[in-house]
Structure formats: structure tokens, C-alpha cells
């Protein structure tokens, strides 16, 4: 499936800030969408849309920190760059502890914000690629029969076919056949690759 194009979402109650950020991002060739409130953004937010968020901390109604909390509850992984004119250390620490990508104090230089935005977009791309990878592994795992899954679990624990056969009460030849099916269904070229796949989806 082809990815949607990335966009920067700007949420700030100040018209002038929204307009200037939109212009700045446009000048850098970055597409953006602006919102005057947290509620306005949350009403249309689609987690499938790649991008990052530039979020004002202090807004009437729902604050930026409250909106971050809401996004966390929804399981959103969009990188959040906070911007504020009245930031303090406890506020910045709270935002970072809850997973903010960055926290910038106004006034900031255009280049500073653009640098953070580029990095946040790169982070989003990486996260989405990692998730696609683990989703593929989970799909392959779901295609295994219960017996194949047992064999997979035992071989990735480092057990030899003979030991697996003993554990499952089947012949070594049967284990070899299941193991071949596992490698094929998981599209793994080696046991090491299989182990890496299992580590990638481990809780």
C-alpha cells in the first residue's frame, strides 16, 4: 500500500502564528494543515495520515498538554513538537515524559523549527516503517498452524530438532517438515532471521 503524503499539522489559537507557520512550511516545500483549537484537530485527526504536529501549549479550552494526553490515549504515535511563549521546566519535562518529540520556546528562529519538523517527519517515517514490518511478521505468524507455532517457539529458543521432537512427542522427521513450513511461511532465510523477527514482535 502506498503511503499518504506527509503533512505538518499546526494547532495554535493565535491566527498570526498559524498563518506565519503555514507560510514558513510552504516556503520549505512542506504541506501543512492548520487548526485553531485542539478540539478542531481531534475531530478530524486520522492516525493513518503520516506527518507531525506543531502544537501550542497554552490554548483556551483543551491545552496542548491535554491534547497530547488525549492522543496518547488514542494510541497515536505522531511526533509532537510543542511551541510556547510561556514555557517552564516542569511543563517541558511533563511534555517530554509523555513522549513529546521536542519543546520549543517562542520566539524561535525559522531554521530551528524547520530543523525540528524535518527530524520529526523522519522519525514518523521510521516509526511507520517499523510498524509495517512488525505487522507483516504478525500476519505471517497468524498463517502458521498451531503445531508450526509450537515448533517455531521451540527452535527460536535454541532447541535442536531432536529436542523439539522430544518436547512435542513427535518424530524428528515431522519436526523437520514443520520447520521447513515455518521458514517458508515466515519468509525467513535463516534461524537468525527468524529469531530477529520474533524479537521484533516480542511484547
Amino acid at each position: 500500500m502506498k503511503d499518504l503524503p506527509q503533512a505538518v499539522f499546526v494547532v495554535d489559537d493565535d491566527d498570526a502564528v498559524r498563518d506565519s507557520l503555514k507560510l514558513l512550511l510552504k516556503s520549505a516545500g512542506i504541506s501543512s494543515e492548520v487548526f485553531a483549537s485542539a478540539q478542531e484537530f481531534l475531530a478530524v485527526y486520522d492516525a493513518a495520515q503520516p506527518g507531525c504536529l506543531v502544537l501550542d501549549v497554552r490554548m483556551p479550552g483543551m491545552s496542548g498538554l491535554e491534547m497530547q494526553h488525549e492522543l496518547n490515549l488514542r494510541g497515536a504515535m505522531i511526533p509532537v513538537i510543542f511551541i510556547t511563549g510561556h514555557g517552564d521546566i516542569p511543563m517541558a519535562v511533563e511534555a517530554m515524559q509523555h513522549g513529546a518529540f521536542d519543546f520549543l520556546q517562542k520566539p524561535f528562529r525559522d531554521v530551528e523549527l524547520l530543523d525540528r519538523v524535518h527530524r520529526a517527519l523522519a522519525r514518523d517515517t521510521e516509526t511507520r516503517a517499523r510498524l509495517r514490518h512488525t505487522d507483516r511478521i504478525r500476519e505471517r505468524l497468524a498463517s502458521l498452524s498451531p503445531r508450526e507455532r509450537e515448533v517455531l517457539d521451540l527452535v527460536t529458543q535454541g532447541k535442536a530438532n531432536k529436542m523439539v521432537a522430544g518436547d512435542l512427542g513427535v518424530s524428528q522427521r515431522t519436526v523437520e517438515i514443520h520447520r521447513a513450513h515455518v521458514m517458508q511461511k515466515m519468509e525467513a532465510g535463516s534461524l537468525a532471521e527468524l529469531v530477529r523477527m520474533m524479537m521484533a514482535v516480542a511484547p
Partner: protein
């Protein structure tokens, strides 16, 4: 790898407290330490003074020693009390974090230095505490880490 030594006593790491902060588990005694990293400065002395009520507070004489203590598994938490002379705090934080993924690391910073606080958080600090006004927040964090 960090190599620079913090300015401090040239003999063994300094232990503060009465040494009875012990955890008995399965017949063995495990001593959990609070590691303070920082050069010999007014700020570091204040931090050590604020933590005097905790057992097994140590002030390693070098960054290497602090990292070794942090990675030993007996550490309850690491407190970066002050700047570390030639070494950037962020680098030190990152190394400590790599050694002990779950170790609580607290960084003391000057008031209003939001950029430094954000950078410390990005490099692995658990919390950043501004001093002044008081060390109460640090003591509360260390208490939680000791539990």
C-alpha cells in the same frame, strides 16, 4: 566513551550516609546506592547535603566510576548534580542510559533553562529538577527510586 575525571577527591569514591540502606533478599544483602555525579562545586555539595538523609549516597571521583556504579545493578538512581567539566551532560546521560535502561536518572539544572531540560530529557533523563527553589522535588524523586 567518556574519559574525563570529575574534579573531586583523588582517593576512593566518597560515601555519604550511615551505610544501612540495605535490602535483604534470599539470605544475601543488597546495597542500593544513590550515585551523585558532578564536579566539586557548591551545587554538588548542596545536592549531597540535601540527600544526607538517604543511605548509601556515593559521589564517585570520576565519570567512569559513576558509569560503572550506574551499570552495576545495585544503583537505585543517578543524580547529575552539576555540569561535568569537559564532558557534555547529554553524552554522559546517553551512556548511562545505555548501561541501565530502567535506571532513574535525575538532572539538576538552573531555573528557566528549558532548552537544557528538554535536551536532557531527550538524552535519557527521567526528570529534570530546577534548583532553586528547593531540593524537595529531588528528595521526593530519590525516595520513589529507593522503593
Amino acid at each position: 566513551m567518556l574519559r574525563a575525571a570529575m574534579k573531586g577527591p583523588s582517593h576512593n569514591d566518597i560515601e555519604i550516609g550511615d551505610g544501612n540502606g540495605v535490602e535483604k533478599k534470599g539470605g544475601t544483602t543488597r546495597i542500593r546506592t544513590v550515585i551523585v555525579a558532578g564536579q566539586s562545586s557548591q551545587r554538588t555539595r548542596e545536592v549531597l547535603h540535601a540527600l544526607r538523609g538517604f543511605q548509601n549516597v556515593i559521589w564517585p571521583t570520576s565519570l567512569e566510576s559513576a558509569l560503572a556504579q550506574a551499570g552495576s545493578g545495585d544503583a537505585a538512581c543517578l543524580v547529575i548534580a552539576d555540569d561535568l567539566r569537559e564532558e557534555p551532560i547529554d553524552e554522559f546521560l546517553q551512556e548511562a542510559r545505555e548501561l541501565q535502561r530502567n535506571l532513574p536518572i535525575f538532572v539538576i539544572t538552573a531555573p528557566h533553562d528549558v532548552a537544557e531540560a528538554v535536551s536532557a530529557m531527550r538524552h535519557g533523563a527521567t526528570a529534570v529538577i530546577e534548583i532553586p527553589p528547593s531540593y524537595a522535588a529531588l528528595c521526593a524523586e530519590v525516595s520513589r527510586a529507593m522503593q
